[in-house]
Symmetry: C2
Subunit: 311 residues, 2 copies
């Protein structure tokens, strides 16, 4: 037996499976709640190849959406995609106890609010994952590189719960940056994601090189970053002007790269449009800030979605 | 024999074939210069079904790109698509005589300039076609509706040549509106085409209903029309504000409609990106007018093109 906290991963895709494995290595009990991959994981566990070694593990319990838990976990880590059709507050409800800390390892901006409102008495920890990993078949994940988490309490600060979880992740073998202002870190990450991800989708899966090297492409990206910065500042997170240059130069130094939203699009999977872009445009409207470049991309994506009969 | 002027149609797709038929009905000699459809038309002539009746005809001469003409025509009517890879001035060179009037029945803005510069001594007549017609197989055209031409001398005025040609078209059975300011008419048509056509392409072939009914869609269209109007005004063609409403309401009254650029895109044919959009953005830059919505759409289309290895 262990006195380490119990962990429940809700949504064990590539991200959830990986961070579950890290906490398993740290000695926690790790259970999962799955939908489509339930049978495969129940049968074979989760198999993960990684530069860190073989991270494969059998979850302590494998639950299916709709099951009743034996007891609520100490930490519930939510790793599902943030999609309009997914009611995340509802999704975690059966598993939340009065002392359960709710942890988000998810992309996007303004994605904490609905959970903070639904569970005002549970501590909420918000994380950004910097990782290259993909699910290759049910229950099988390829971890390619990185893995760092940026973590903080929502809406701000670093609680003791947060430090405990961070220590466990570090013990399991990854880096964690604790931050007093996790929302500001989300804005910082979205300086890149909000322009590049949706633009790559409406450009039919263009990689970073194509985006930047097309005539007018770099200027468009700069204009979009500037719009994100204006909204971030209005929200209380002013950013240094130099971040524009850093994002462009950093991207130019990488090999041509298709981001995860482009890959989702090319593989007919739903994209996190609102988490990454729609919420920024909504905040801009609330502040009366014009974001014409972002808005053009957003509305185009909505037109495509209605064409495909999606939300 | 006829004392009617001789006509040469360069680029006898749906548009060129149709207007050639009209002039044939008016008693002109009508020849064609063709590329891919040469064999079919040489063999079978041009077959056109139409609400006006059967407009099929055999061109007096069927030339192939690169042939030498017997004698230069009185009117050379250019109906090719306006694409970056097509040097239109070069294309018509073998057929231009000292007295040949050059007539454009082509879409877009600022598309006359390169021809006016190449043939400063030949009268240039610029036309906009309001027609629904499509080529169904080589040498076969289905004329569905409309057919009106708006016609004027370039850059302005209505020359005698213009009136002569207009009378012939009317004699052949279509309506012609002569205009002293054909460039202004192009701007007027582009109030619709410049927003709707390229937007339908980046929205993957969305029809007018989808574009207007998507959340934010109508507002986006309005913003794009406004940008086109600002450039038109800087170019000396101020437009009434009420045209925005008219364009929106007129579109809502039509059945859902896929424009020709959307159809070209969906059928893997090149699109007239620069004629309809790129030239407007270039003029905006020259005047220092911000057109962020138009520019986002333009750059996205360029990214797609470089992804596909096109210009």
């Amino acid at each position: 037996m262990t006195d380490k906290p119990s962990i429940l991963i809700v949504g064990a895709g590539a991200i959830g499976s990986f961070y579950g494995a890290i906490l398993k290595r740290a000695g926690c009990s790790v259970s999962t709640v799955l939908r489509s991959e339930y049978e495969a994981v129940k049968e074979n566990g989760i198999r993960i190849s990684s530069p860190l070694g073989d991270l494969s593990y059998r979850p302590d319990q494998v639950y299916r959406d709709g099951d009743s838990p034996q007891s609520p976990p100490d930490y519930l880590i939510l790793c599902v995609k943030v999609l309009p059709g997914t009611d995340r507050a509802q999704l975690v409800r059966p598993w939340m106890g009065p002392n359960t800390r709710l942890v988000l390892i998810e992309n996007g901006l303004d994605i904490e609010r609905e959970l903070a409102e639904a569970y005002p008495d549970n501590p909420l920890i918000s994380c950004l994952a910097f990782i290259a990993a993909s699910r290759t078949e049910p229950g099988v994940v390829e971890h390619k590189a990185y893995g760092k988490l940026v973590m903080g309490s929502y809406p701000e600060g670093i609680s003791e719960d947060c430090r405990t979880l961070s220590d466990l992740f570090i013990e399991g073998g990854i880096k964690v940056d604790l931050t007093e202002a996790v929302v500001g870190e989300r804005w910082r990450k979205c300086l890149w994601n909000t322009p590049f991800n949706p633009l790559s989708v409406i450009a039919n899966g263009a990689d970073t090189r194509t985006i930047l090297d097309t005539e007018g492409g770099e200027a468009l990206i700069r204009a979009m970053i500037r719009e994100v910065m204006a909204v971030a500042e209005a929200e209380g997170y002013p950013m240094e002007e130099s971040l524009i240059e850093q994002n462009i130069e950093g991207t130019r130094k990488m090999p041509p790269y298709k981001n995860s939203m482009a890959l989702d699009y090319l593989n007919d999977r739903p994209i996190e449009r609102d988490a990454v872009l729609g919420n920024v445009v909504a905040l801009a409207e609330r502040h009366g800030i014009a974001v014409p470049h972002l808005n053009t991309v957003l509305v185009t994506l909505k037109m495509r979605a209605s064409l495909e009969g999606r939300a």
